[in-house]
């Protein structure tokens, strides 16, 4: 929290939003679910950040994405939920000192990080696609789309994090 408005976080935020809006939101083909890579921002925020600041940041991130995809309130609700649950998910799935780290492959370890990210993605996508469909009339199709989107998002998160990890090793 000590350096919340740091420039790297802001650049990351803008990049993730841009990729989400300009590229990923366009992936609608084959009736697959849309991957939501932008929640990586919420996943990777430092765990020792003030929780109210975390909630408000997540809310506005969701609001921006909502504005671009005409899904008012849906991303907001899903993002605020994972931001609220983040602390406990970190405690349960992260390393013992998880609450003083910035989540990444390096700090969490690959398998723990992926478990933690998976839990966050599942909760976000489940709530998002449930609210988005507005009912449980097409439960089978809803589950299928949610599962596809979760897989897709996890694949993207893995690629980004792996790239960052290799990059940081080469830098050393």
């Amino acid at each position: 929290m000590n350096n919340f408005f740091n420039i790297q976080l802001i650049i990351e935020w803008v990049l993730l939003i841009a990729v989400q809006v300009l590229v990923l939101n366009g992936i609608d083909y084959l009736q697959l679910g849309t991957p939501f890579l932008f929640i990586l921002f919420i996943i990777n925020l430092p765990t020792d950040m003030n929780r109210i600041a975390l909630l408000v940041t997540s809310f506005f991130t969701g609001l921006v994405i909502d504005t671009f995809s005409s899904t008012p309130g849906i991303h907001c609700a899903a993002c605020v939920l994972i931001a609220y649950l983040k602390r406990w998910i970190c405690k349960a799935l992260g390393p013992s000192d998880a609450l003083s780290l910035t989540p990444s492959f390096q700090t969490f370890g690959q398998s723990r990080y992926l478990q933690y990210a998976f839990a966050m993605v599942v909760i976000h996508h489940a709530l998002f696609y449930f609210l988005e469909s507005g009912s449980l009339n097409q439960a089978g199709q809803l589950l299928l789309r949610t599962a596809e989107a979760i897989l897709f998002t996890m694949l993207l998160i893995f690629s980004v994090e792996y790239f960052k990890y290799r990059h940081s090793i080469n830098d050393r």
Partner: protein, 281 residues
């Protein structure tokens, strides 16, 4: 009192969480009640401009396909032109075609071309964003069609963009009729497959066959009469004795690029009259 304040301070994170979730849900429910949330959708000018920028890039990627389609369309039009030139020789002033054309002109319909800059078709509430807005004369409740049939109805406009509720939106209702039968019905979408919609409010004693053509009814000021909507592809009697009519939609909503917005010049007057009429009752 002090305990109460302490209680709030201890659980402040939880209360902020609940508050933000409530705000989200209020946004969610108020937008779905039609035409609200004018600013929080893809027709607001910032989002519209960014989407226009995106489609200015992706349009180039699609250029090959578009070219091919244009060439094919050209060929088709040439064939049609030849055929209609021949047919024209036999036309007389009092033919049904001439009559229909005159009705359309009398009713003051005009068409305005627009480009789709953003579209979804896999959700339950789908929307299209067009690059024409109030500055070009687009108003809410104008009809939108494309070459292959009816697309939807304009729901909100900003200065240079407009948001369309297409047939592919569970809250869309369009008045249609079966060709050559005077029976009208309502076209709705169940939120499943973007190629099909359902026809409702048709009494079960009306014989509707597979392959029957569905056209707009012209009972509202939005669409003129007789615009192609789709063809019946399934007619089955359900358990409740009501006919289940599935309509294969004309336009391919996954590939919409250019559409026409229909401007009915006398829409205001017609609506005013209808409102006055019902008020006087």
């Amino acid at each position: 009192m002090e305990t109460l304040i302490r209680f709030f301070v201890i659980f402040k994170t939880f209360f902020v969480f609940v508050l933000l979730e409530l705000v989200s849900l209020v946004l969610y429910f108020s937008f779905n009640s039609f035409q609200h949330g004018q600013y929080l959708n893809a027709s607001n000018s910032v989002a519209g401009r960014i989407y226009e920028f995106r489609s200015s890039i992706t349009d180039y990627i699609e250029l090959g396909n578009t070219n091919w389609e244009l060439a094919r369309e050209n060929a088709m039009l040439k064939t049609q032109l030849y055929a209609s030139n021949k047919a024209l020789e036999y036309f007389r002033e009092d033919s049904t075609y001439a009559k229909r054309k005159k009705v359309a002109e009398d009713n003051n319909y005009s068409f305005m071309s627009a480009r789709v800059v953003n579209a979804t078709f896999t959700k339950a509430h789908n929307y299209l964003t067009l690059d024409k807005g109030s500055a070009e004369g687009v108003r809410p409740e104008m009809g939108v069609v494309c070459q292959a049939g009816v697309v939807g109805i304009v729901s909100a406009v900003s200065e240079h963009f407009s948001l369309v509720i297409p047939v592919l939106n569970v809250s869309s209702r369009i008045s249609v009729k079966v060709k050559d039968k005077s029976q009208t019905g309502t076209l709705v979408w169940k939120g499943d497959d973007y190629r099909y919609a359902s026809l409702e409010d048709v009494p079960s004693y009306i014989p509707v066959a597979k392959g029957d053509t569905i056209l707009t009814s012209g009972y509202s000021s939005i669409f003129p009469e007789g615009i192609f909507v789709g063809k019946i592809i399934k007619n089955e009697r359900g358990k409740d004795q009501l006919m289940k009519l599935n309509v294969g939609l004309g336009p391919d909503f996954s590939k919409l690029v250019y559409v026409d917005i229909i401007d009915f010049k006398n829409a205001e007057e017609m609506k005013k009259l209808e409102k006055e009429g019902t008020n006087n009752e």
